[in-house]
Symmetry: C2
Subunit: 460 residues, 2 copies
Amino acid sequence: MPTLTLPQTLIEQLSSQFGQRFSQGESNCLQHGRDESVHEPMLPSAVVFAENIEEIALTVTLCAAHGVPVIPYGVGSSVEGHVLAPKGGISLDLSGMNQIVAIHAEDGDATVQAGVTRKQLNDALKGTGLFFPIDPGADATLGGMAATRASGTNAVRYGTMRDNVMATTTVLADGRIMKTGGRARKSSAGYDLTRLLVGSEGTLGIMAELTVKLYPIPEAISAAVCTFPDIDSAVQTVIQTIQLGVPVARIELLDALSLKAINIFSKTTLAEAPTLFFEFHGSPASVAEQAETVQTIADDLGGTHFEWAARPEDRSRLWQARHDAYFACLQLKPGCRCFPTDVCVPISRLAECIAATYEDIAQVSIPIALFGHVGDGNFHLVVLVDTANEKEMAEAAWISQRVVERAIAMEGTCTGEHGIGLGKRKYLPLEHGNVAVDVMRAIKTALDPHHLLNPGKVLP
Amino acid sequence: MPTLTLPQTLIEQLSSQFGQRFSQGESNCLQHGRDESVHEPMLPSAVVFAENIEEIALTVTLCAAHGVPVIPYGVGSSVEGHVLAPKGGISLDLSGMNQIVAIHAEDGDATVQAGVTRKQLNDALKGTGLFFPIDPGADATLGGMAATRASGTNAVRYGTMRDNVMATTTVLADGRIMKTGGRARKSSAGYDLTRLLVGSEGTLGIMAELTVKLYPIPEAISAAVCTFPDIDSAVQTVIQTIQLGVPVARIELLDALSLKAINIFSKTTLAEAPTLFFEFHGSPASVAEQAETVQTIADDLGGTHFEWAARPEDRSRLWQARHDAYFACLQLKPGCRCFPTDVCVPISRLAECIAATYEDIAQVSIPIALFGHVGDGNFHLVVLVDTANEKEMAEAAWISQRVVERAIAMEGTCTGEHGIGLGKRKYLPLEHGNVAVDVMRAIKTALDPHHLLNPGKVLP
């Protein structure tokens, strides 16, 4: 049951404006009140399917007049409860806002509506020689990715959404439409509102359109897989690669359990041992040079089976397997959910952080896989739990807290790319201190005084 | 004369706390009330020379209690009036905060006090194999560079201060000390307060310490100079280089008048014609490959005298000449000041923007040189004026407005790297729209309700 009954006037207004695209139906509310994580569903009172900016502004304006919350929704692939409706209200589904507004190939940027997914954008770029590199595992919407400051496997080379959103068109809490940023590659003109919105999880405004950076498809790409005798030698290979400044495009660590899950799920025959996946981008000579450097490092650290995947179809299969790792792990324990962790630490602390995490893993009974974007110092635990089992949930909460507190003690962060949502709010003061959290709250209040945009998220 | 007489109590408090480091002396006030531009000096009421964060916090707290403005000051190399005191108050000189707090070579970051200059940081990095790439012409403080979101010649490859400040320790308007960001390479934990501070020009808080990214010194570096028959062919060379995705580290355009000024000032014998300066970073093979690609593009467009400077001393001389271009141009007209312009446009509009700018230049009598970081679409006019000559000042204002309005019409920005300060405030609504400016003002009011931090800057 939603926690809020909508005022009858609002129901009539939204029905009259949106017709079939306004729904109080149980299945729609259920679908929009849960995400991909262990968070218990929290249902919105109704769903509006918006198709343009004016409809977002209208919905926000009408809801504001009635003091009703609005929660933006993309495809629901969040894992920290961002799309849940703890106070009820309207789930504003933007998946119908899926128009590519403009591709400026000569400038290397594209403007898209917030509901465009990353794969849709890359499909639209075919023939331009450009691509959009940010790739969280799911085929998330670009609006959702911007809202959570998402990244993924390519971030070590191409940055995160923070670095790649140039401009937005955003609906404010009072329904006004704001433009932020611009298409110049740099600017010193005023406060960086674009960066303030990126990562604000729909709590400061609803991004309706985004302009994002594109990159030339590298002349040459090659991928490699290398197996290690233990996690530490794999991690040391990562650290040395980064410290040498090799411009590797992707460098991903997967542990033995992740590989086992991938082999079952993707019908691959990869060695079930600590493994690094690499990808190199550049000219043919540069790619060869990078790969040679990394292979030398890996060899010195006991890496074996350095296997190449230069053919596009082999690379695709490899990276699809990597992207499926999350779902593959879920299949290890039918009916389970994932209690996600997502810490990121300075690279010099990565080996120590992962080693201590394995000591924690040894203390619990639940299966836990580890993988991550280790070139950035970012890794995830896939903690597999039966949400109805109190002991498992307690173990998961314990290990999550241990990992987060350790990462913060190492000058890292409680979330590298998932966001705060509902799940990490308690760690925000621990990571940033009370003064910074006070300032975040002051900004929230200045922009959304009645706390109607995605209430209950980010701020503790 | 300052516009504000300090309350006697505040004078006594600051005198007692700072002794000789609190000064109401005319020469100190004069030095701190002007910058490198045409802006008329506006003197602070007094100067405080702070040496640590607690002293910044104390000064801000005492001034807040009396409603007295505080204007942070680095080395005064700003060109948009950032350090001027239109309402009097305390100029808070941070140049004594010049400690390098920590260098984490293994993580590629360093924490410095705000008064450390970029050259000082690079000197301190000797022997680590790392460098800090951001290089506005002046040897500015890192605090000042962060405040104005500065960049310079390397930005096309390494980004601007926006991309390279990872964390700050900032004193708020009420004297509280806030930590923002962290040392993890990425984070999705809460609002991006670091990015909000970078480019806020001391109006939201006073950055006292910064953590910045460092980069491995490239294995190979080479520089080149190439002369073109006209500006357009030089600009087309830039555009093609960028569109091909060549990871050039620097690509700078200088026009014939800039070269003439450089030859006089730096005693060089460069051809006095439209010229590109290049620098390539990477492995020896990659540098050779990049240079070859660019030379082919330049050759096709009529570039001549493609000259190499692979020896470090030759490269240094070349880039010193480039960095001295601003001061060299000033010498063309003894006693003059520079009316700066600093627009940045999407690269596809750069040729058109520069061509139209030359048509404007042809309309005025004052000497105007053009150079810039054209790989980003950013260029400057050095408009040489006698500030006492009304006709010259009117011509300068006219051309500045023409260039800014054109850049904004081309989806560019009124300032690529100098900042808004006093000089560009009127263009902020034109560039970002009234709603965004309202939101900036709401944030300013939330963080500094009495508008005591660098009042009169950024917001119109």
